[in-house]
């Protein structure tokens, strides 16, 4: 008998995504509404049926283009009448916003919650590349006071430190790490919305310029414009929706290590271990049941670390698992980031992985649909101290 977590009383009933591009030059609120309206229509619901809203990150956070639309902007633009709403950045990864929707439904505060994440970093950053905003260039305070004075200015720097630690301890190589990027590009070629689709070989990867050792340009995701939205519904209300509901089996939100990027007790387990363990404790499914994995790759090493944190590969063995790339290909034993990840399909910031997992579980992946018939998908978002994960399935409970 399945051990049902409270999560299983909810389901993903609708998904939507705007156009996605490197620089679309479109009002980010408009992109956001495109995704939201598509998700509501996909669920077969009316705008009036939406009684909750949840988003990441809300105002006042991040660099240029990090936040495409605040909760109040979307609620007002759509004239939503909500019984519960929330936004915020201090949450278990970007998908923490979806967790809160599940919780609000279980607490009886809402029935159909619209969740979205909207970015326009591509347009906002212009052609100058990824540089710091003016606010970050002034005197360093908060957590940044311990890193910015040392030129540790990007999450890339913080995460490169984890990558070096994994290589030092386990002998993980750049060739193994590079398979994450090569695999993403191979899948992106079959995704009409992907940012980068030109073929990439491992040699191309190794030849890309060094950003912060051992991470190269092709280890870094691609800032873009685009919005992604979901409708999360109470399961008994999902009977009325048009799409096949995807069950939320379990989710993981735990943070048991230091809440500071440079202070993890074990630098090689700096991503989501506690959250993943919690997720597995809330379901009768096991890592062996996972048919495909959509794991956050804001930097390639994060996907490698998530493979281990999610217990899909034993700790220390992700490098050898990735060797050659066959295991993670769409016809491999664990298809990974089947849409191209953020590395090649664009930095839709966590929500892209969840969207792709639902798409694959529904069998709607088109040219990139995995060759198996997947029934269970593992989804992870975030890195460092902001990590969350989901287990989704096609099971009807």
């Amino acid at each position: 008998m399945p051990r049902n977590s409270v999560e299983t009383t909810t389901a993903v009933t609708g998904i939507g995504q705007s156009d996605v591009g490197r620089r679309l030059g479109i009002d980010p609120l408009s992109l956001t509404l495109d995704a939201c309206m598509e998700a509501i229509a996909d669920a077969g619901l009316r705008v009036e049926d939406i009684d909750g809203l949840s988003t990441y990150p809300g105002p006042g956070s991040g660099g240029p283009g990090f936040n495409g639309a605040n909760a109040y902007e979307v609620i007002d633009a759509m004239r939503l009448s909500v019984d519960w709403y929330d936004s915020g950045m201090e949450t278990p990864g970007q998908l923490g916003s979806v967790m809160k929707a599940v919780m609000a439904i279980n607490a009886g505060f809402a029935t159909h919650v619209l969740c979205y994440r909207s970015v326009w970093e591509g347009s906002a950053q212009g052609t100058g590349g990824r540089q710091l905003g003016a606010a970050q260039a002034t005197r360093a305070s908060g957590f940044a006071q311990w890193t910015s004075p040392y030129g540790s200015l990007s999450a890339g720097n913080w995460i490169a430190l984890y990558a070096q630690a994994h290589m030092d301890r386990y002998g993980t190589t750049s060739e193994q790490l590079g398979q994450i990027a090569v695999n993403a590009r191979r899948n992106a070629a079959l995704n009409p919305k992907a940012i980068y689709t030109d073929p990439m070989t491992l040699d191309d990867y190794l030849a890309s310029r060094m950003i912060t050792t051992p991470l190269r340009l092709f280890d870094c995701d691609a800032p873009c414009d685009g919005a992604t939205a979901f409708v999360i519904s109470r399961r008994d209300a999902a009977k009325d929706t048009a799409s096949t509901p995807i069950t939320i089996e379990a989710m993981g939100s735990a943070l048991h290590d230091r809440a500071a990027w440079d202070q993890f007790s074990d630098l090689t387990r700096s991503v989501g271990s506690a959250a993943a363990d919690q997720m597995w404790s809330r379901t009768d499914l096991t890592p062996q049941d996972v048919d495909l994995a959509e794991l956050y790759d804001g930097f390639s090493i994060l996907a490698l670390l998530w493979l281990e944190a999610m217990r899909l590969v034993p700790f220390g063995e992700a490098g050898s698992f990735l060797e050659g790339g066959a295991n993670i290909a769409r016809d491999g034993i664990l298809p990974l980031n089947t849409h191209g990840g953020q590395l090649s399909a664009g930095r839709l910031h966590g929500y892209g992985f969840f969207h792709e997992a639902v798409t694959q579980l529904r069998g709607e992946g088109g040219a990139r649909q995995v060759t198996s018939t997947p029934t269970v998908a593992a989804v992870a978002a975030g890195g460092g101290n902001t990590c969350g994960c989901f287990l989704l399935s096609t099971r009807e409970l």
Binding site: Q131, R139, S141, Q145, Y150, G151, N157, T212, T213
Partner: protein, 144 residues
């Protein structure tokens, strides 16, 4: 890295919680908060000991020695005035397991840095309208 022109840095905000860390270098001391009741060091500074929850914490000088826990050589010019490459390192201090700080490793070739390398503190004197500060940096340890 022995040239006289100091590299571009975003300077830290000096607060009551952090001032000891950024000014101890005036007298050659790397200062870390320590619980005065149980002896536990804590970094970054907070006004409570995470071990016994004592509020009786105060800065103390540590040895200034350490080892490289992990590192990265940054090549990306995140800001126009940055001079690259430079080494960002996490240094483990010998005073306590997992007592660690982010810093720059200087006075060495970036590609000669390796994890486990023995290092020692040095300070870079800076000032702005908050006053003077001494940024703790690390360099390869000299033979004891």
């Amino acid at each position: 890295m022995t040239d006289q022109a100091a590299p571009f840095r975003i300077l830290p905000e000096l607060s009551d919680r952090s001032r000891h860390f950024w000014t101890g270098g005036e007298v050659g001391e790397l200062r870390i908060l320590r619980c005065q009741d149980c002896g536990y060091y804590l970094h970054p500074p907070a006004s409570i000991c995470p071990k016994d929850r004592s509020r009786n914490v105060a800065p103390e000088a540590v040895s200034g020695r350490g080892t490289v826990a992990t590192f990265t050589i940054n090549h990306q010019r995140w800001m126009p005035d940055l001079e690259v490459p430079y080494v960002i390192a996490l240094i483990s201090l010998p005073e306590q397991p997992e007592l660690r700080l982010t810093t720059n490793l200087v006075n060495c070739e970036p590609y000669e840095v390796h994890s486990g390398m023995a290092v020692q503190v040095l300070f870079e004197h800076r000032s702005d309208d908050q006053g003077e500060m001494w940024i703790p940096l690390f360099e390869p340890a000299q033979e004891a």
